[in-house]
Symmetry: C2
Subunit: 200 residues, 2 copies
C-alpha cells in the first residue's frame, strides 16, 4: 500500500468533514446515512471510517470545531463578532445541533463523549477574557464573569433556536444593541452622552 | 351508543393531552408511538383519535396551549413572570419542541399547520402590550415594539435550548436582571440611584 503523507492525511480529514457537514445539514443527523456520507465526500465508507471512528465521531468533531471557532472569535474580536457569526450560520446545520439535544439528554454515553469535546481550557480562557473586560470597565461587574459570559451564550442559543425554526434574525444591529445594554455597565453606555456634546 | 356530555368530552380531551404530553416528554416525538400514547392515556387508539386528528394534531395542540399560556402570563403579569415560567418548564417536554424544528424547516405541510397554530391575534395583543409599556416609559422606545418583544422571546428560546441540552439555568435572578437592563430605558434604571440616596 502506498504511504500517504501527513499533509495529505490532514487534507483528507478536512475533505471528509466538509462533506459530512453538508450531508448532515441536508438530511439531518439520522438521515445522513453512510451511503449519503459516501456520496457527499466522494469517498468509500472504508476510507471515511479510517479517519473517523464513527458517524457520531464526525458530528462531534464538527461541533467541537464550531465551538472553538466561535470562542476564538470572541477572544480575538469580541462577543459582538461571535454573535454576528452565529447569525450567519447555515440554519440547516444548526438544525442538526437541535436534533442532538435529545441524544445529549437521553443517552448518557453520548452526553459523556459530548462533554469530553467541551474544551474546558477554552471555556476558562473565555471566563478570564470576560473578567479582564470587567476590570477595564467595559463589562458590568455586579455579576461574576461566568454569568456575563453565560448570558451572551444564552442569547446565542436563542439565535440558534430561532434560525433552526427557519426564522431569520431580522435586525442584527438591534440584537447587538440589546445585548450591549445588558452586559455593559450603565456608566459605559451613559458616558459618551455629556462629554461628546460638550466637545462638539 | 351512550351519549357523552360536552363536559365529559372536554374532560377526556384534557386527559388525552396530559397523557400525550408525558409520553412525548419521556420518549420524544418519534418514540411516542400510538401504543405508548394508549398506555399513557389509558385509552384506546380509537378513542384518542376520536378527539384528535393525529399524533401531530396532539403535538400541535400542546404547543399551541403552551404558547397561549406564556403570552397570557406576559400580558397579565409581565415578561418577567413569563420568562420565569419557561425556566420552570419540563426540560424533556422542551426537548420535543427542539426535535420538531427539523420538521418545521423541512416539511412545508407541517410548517403550514404549525403556522396556522401560531395565534396571530395573541401576537398582536402582545405587541400592543409592549407598545403601551414603551408609552409609559417602562420599556425602551428606541426600537419598535416588535424588536423589544422579539428580543425577550429570543432569550426565552435560549432558555429552552439550554434546558433542552440538560443544562439548568443556574441564576434566574441574574437572567432577569440582564434582560431588564436590555429592554428598560437607561433612565428607568438610573432613576432610583440619586433620589433614593438623598432621601435616606
Amino acid at each position: 500500500m502506498p504511504k500517504i503523507s501527513d499533509e495529505r492525511k490532514a487534507e483528507r480529514r478536512e475533505h471528509i468533514l466538509a462533506g459530512a457537514r453538508r450531508a448532515f445539514a441536508e438530511h439531518g443527523y439520522e438521515g445522513a446515512t453512510v451511503t449519503r456520507l459516501e456520496k457527499a465526500t466522494g469517498m468509500s465508507r472504508g476510507a471515511i471510517f479510517n479517519y473517523f471512528p464513527s458517524k457520531e465521531g464526525l458530528f462531534l468533531e464538527l461541533a467541537r470545531r464550531d465551538n472553538e471557532h466561535l470562542v476564538r472569535l470572541w477572544l480575538d474580536r469580541g462577543w459582538e463578532a461571535a454573535l454576528r457569526e452565529v447569525v450567519e450560520e447555515d440554519p440547516d446545520w444548526l438544525g442538526v445541533y437541535l436534533e442532538m439535544t435529545r441524544k445529549v439528554r437521553t443517552d448518557p454515553e453520548f452526553a459523556r463523549r459530548h462533554e469530553e469535546h467541551a474544551q474546558k481550557e477554552l471555556a476558562h480562557e473565555l471566563i478570564a477574557h470576560v473578567r479582564a473586560g470587567q476590570e477595564r470597565g467595559e463589562l458590568r461587574d455586579d455579576f461574576p464573569p461566568e454569568r456575563v459570559a453565560g448570558f451572551i451564550s444564552l442569547v446565542a442559543n436563542g439565535v440558534v433556536l430561532q434560525m433552526g425554526f427557519g426564522e431569520r434574525i431580522r435586525d442584527v444591529d438591534a440584537l447587538v444593541d440589546f445585548v450591549r445594554a445588558s452586559v455593559e455597565p450603565p456608566r459605559a453606555r451613559a458616558r459618551p452622552r455629556t462629554p461628546a456634546r460638550t466637545r462638539s
